[in-house]
């Protein structure tokens, strides 16, 4: 039998070496993206299992899990894994890693070896945290408030903190890699205002990565000093200030909230024009909204501390700034609606996820206004209202956006189409399950149920059972893609180079792309969403 031998430059990145070694020592951004994807999928389902146990416990007022200690360790583990080992890296290091060079018309990121090193750091940090969480766990909550975490908590605070510390360097390296790549490796003709919005949002995210993560590293280091050597920084008994920790922690963690949502906003801004067959409404406003979110995000941390004992003046100032940071998010929602107006809207799975995102993100954003209003926050702070609010943004928003992006770019990543109908069904199920899980929690919070309670007064039971019922639907909806996407790798239809009729550069190379991405460096002559008049193309 004769075989057609392709030139080296035209081998798909997936068939360019099949040994484990060729994957573990790869410097190809696409393969590293896949490595990350496998890692964070593992962490997602691990953190999700903890969430399932939390919801199981809360079915009964006295707590279905016998011990409060176990429960406290579960929600701490859920928070730590989901924040640092899923949400923060989710979109940038998986989808971002895969598509950024392709979108820019580049061969790879600016520093391919640093990229691989980032993955190893991430895994080292992840395993460090996992070791701690499984060899006894931590019962501080993911926020590590002092002096509880430094001098009162039992468990492996230092090991978990070390894991987060290490993975922080992976984040910083990725941020640097993206910033430099976006500055230096754009294809000829790809001016800043011709960049896809997804690139802009990853650029904004990277700025936060680079500027905020070091503050977290310093904070955690001080925490470890206090825990191990009793250097008084945060514990008043040692002469420290307990509020200082909260200031430093939220100085990182509030911008980190935008790390967790900006890439999602980028994905949705990418998908809506494609499936509405229409140029993104107000491109420059959407772009600068991302950048201004990244900037203002650094000045709103105090809104986590309205009842903590910070000064009256600080609270009022932070309330105003928090309202300001909500404006660019609102602008984005209006622009997406403007894009839908007079479009030719298709309902493929990525679009259903994206539309679901708009709904859930708006709900999450709107309820943020309650928490930014000082007097309302006094009542709602540290209740389930807050839990519902940030899950609407982080899970309803970011996880929906992640799935939207995953389905959108899946044909490009794997060269296979996913089964469309079941994917649409999963998207709808996710929307329903999510609302059933988290909407009751808004009411619970308003009624006064505090967060992080292993047991609760019986009058809260009905809403808690509803929420837990929703969680089972949500769990099923998350498991579906795991099965059908995996299935499609082996049995899916072959994907064409450009299944959605998109205009981005990543669609101008075959699915899956060559190892070197492009045979010829593309030349860009127009913006990313200048779709021809409908009818001119038939997809």
């Amino acid at each position: 039998m004769s075989q057609i031998v392709l030139p080296q430059s035209q081998i798909s990145y997936l068939s360019d070496g099949v040994s484990l070694r060729s994957w573990l020592l790869t410097t190809d951004h696409k393969r590293i993206g896949i490595l990350y994807m496998i890692s964070i999928t593992f962490f997602f389902f691990l953190g999700g299992s903890a969430a399932a146990l939390i919801r199981y416990n809360l079915i009964l007022p006295e707590g279905a899990i016998q011990s409060a200690e176990t429960y406290n360790r579960l929600f701490t583990m859920h928070g730590i894994i989901m924040v640092w080992f899923f949400l923060v890296p989710a979109v940038p290091v998986t989808i971002g890693n895969f598509v950024v060079p392709l979108m820019l018309g580049a061969r790879d990121l600016a520093f391919p070896k640093l990229n691989l090193f980032s993955w190893y750091l991430f895994m080292a940090g992840g395993f460090c945290a996992l070791y701690a969480l499984f060899s006894g766990g931590v019962d501080t909550g993911w926020t590590f408030y002092t002096p509880l975490s430094s001098n009162y908590a039992q468990g492996h605070v230092v090991a978990v903190v070390a894991g987060i510390f290490i993975s922080g360097f992976s984040t910083i390296a990725t941020g640097l890699n993206f910033i430099i790549t976006i500055h230096r490796l754009r294809a000829p003709g790809l001016t800043w205002y011709r960049l896809p919005v997804f690139i802009w949002s990853l650029y904004s995210t990277s700025i936060i990565f680079v500027l905020a993560t070091p503050v977290l590293a310093i904070t955690l280091l001080l925490l470890v000093f206090e825990t191990l050597f009793h250097v008084g920084v945060f514990d008043p008994r040692l002469g420290g200030d307990p509020l200082l920790f909260q200031h430093m922690f939220w100085f990182y963690s509030h911008p980190a909230v935008y790390i967790m949502i900006l890439p999602g906003l980028g994905i949705v801004s990418e998908i809506i024009p494609v499936f509405a067959r229409k140029e993104l409404f107000g491109y420059k406003f959407v772009v600068w909204a991302s950048v201004s979110i990244a900037v203002i995000a650094f000045f709103v941390w105090g809104h986590h501390m309205f009842v903590s004992g910070q000064s009256l003046f600080a609270s009022v100032a932070f309330s105003l700034l928090s309202y300001l940071v909500a404006v660019p998010s609102a602008i984005k929602v209006f622009n997406w609606l403007g894009t839908l107006h007079k479009g030719h809207i298709r309902f493929d799975a990525p679009m259903i996820y994206a539309l679901g995102f708009i709904g859930l993100f708006t709900m999450g954003g709107i309820t943020g206004l309650y928490l930014a209003a000082l007097a309302a926050d006094i009542h709602l702070h540290d209740t389930y209202f807050v839990i519902a609010h940030f899950h609407y943004i982080m899970v309803g928003g970011m996880v929906s956006a992640y799935f939207a992006g995953l389905h959108y770019w899946w044909p490009k990543m794997t060269g296979k189409m996913y089964p469309e109908m079941i994917a649409r069904a999963a998207a709808l199920l996710m929307f329903l399950g999510f609302n059933l899980t988290f909407f009751p929690q808004y009411i619970l919070g308003y009624l006064g149920m505090p967060r992080r309670y292993h047991a609760y007064p019986p009058e809260f039971q009905v809403l808690n059972v509803l929420s837990s019922a929703g969680a089972t639907i949500l769990a099923a909806a998350y498991l579906l893609p795991l099965f059908y996407l995996t299935f499609s790798i082996f049995r899916g239809e072959r994907a064409p180079a450009n299944p959605w009729g998109s205009l981005g550069l990543e669609w101008q190379t075959p699915s899956p792309p060559f190892t070197k991405n492009f045979t010829v460096t593309p030349l860009v002559t127009k913006g990313p969403y200048e779709f021809p008049e409908p009818g001119a193309i038939d997809v």
Binding site: S315, V327, L355, G359
Partner: protein, 309 residues
Amino acid sequence: MRLTLPLAASTGAATDYLLLGLVAVSLAVLALVFGLMFFYVVRYRHNSPIDRGAMAEKSFRFEISWTIGTLVIFFGLFIWGSIIYVRLYQPPGDALKIYVVAKQWMWKVEHAGGQREINALHVPTNTSVELIMTSEDVIHDFFVPAFRVKRDVLPGQYETMWFRADRVGTYHLFCSQFCGTAHSNMIGQVVVMPPKDYADWLTTNGAGDTLADQGKGLFVRYGCAGCHLGGGTVRAPSLAGLYGSPVPLSDGSTVIADDRYIRDSIMYPKQQVVASFEPVMPSFANVIGEDDLVRLVAYIHSLAAETHG
């Protein structure tokens, strides 16, 4: 299952109106966003033959108007929330003061008459009550949903919070800042009683000395009396009439001598030295416990009443 939360404090009414206002704004925004989304998605579905007409070209005007619209609404909400917050921050001068000391995992409440209770707080109706709170270990949070009040309780300092209950009944008290293993057991009851019943309750539970009387003994025992009781060589300011009055400090500023100031002056005397005195007082941090501090502060409080009366 009830979906509304009864209000038991007149100070919480403004918060409820604010919440209602926020619900109204959210419903309007959600109706707009979901309404437009569904409308467009159906009307402009790809196989709909409807004539799209000319595209809206000038996006600039839209952008500016919805940005300004959003800003105006947000600014209004900011002002509304802040005004109530500022009011909730300032207890009236005649408020009934009750001390709260939190520890893992219980609330200790001390009334001025020396009555003590654990995981419970009795208060009279239609009386402003100010809680002066501190913690012996980690950060806790005193949360009474029916009053719409909540405040973190920190170790090493006093935080205050006030309310005016107006409905007789028993209400939840929650710790809402995660404080360790038995966090969800750090709960209790707030019992609101008519003033007469409250007076009776105080009498039945008021065995022994008042807080101030107990503080007087401690004042001697910890050696405070040696300098502060105005003997021969006066090295320290007199404490008579101090509570609630302005104190000029050596750095030129002035502070009001409230509970927090008195506590801080015992624990960290070098930080706020009274003008024209030497910073010679030793720190009592790690010497006097929170329970005793409460009694000392109550005693110094009582010295003001003596001179005024």
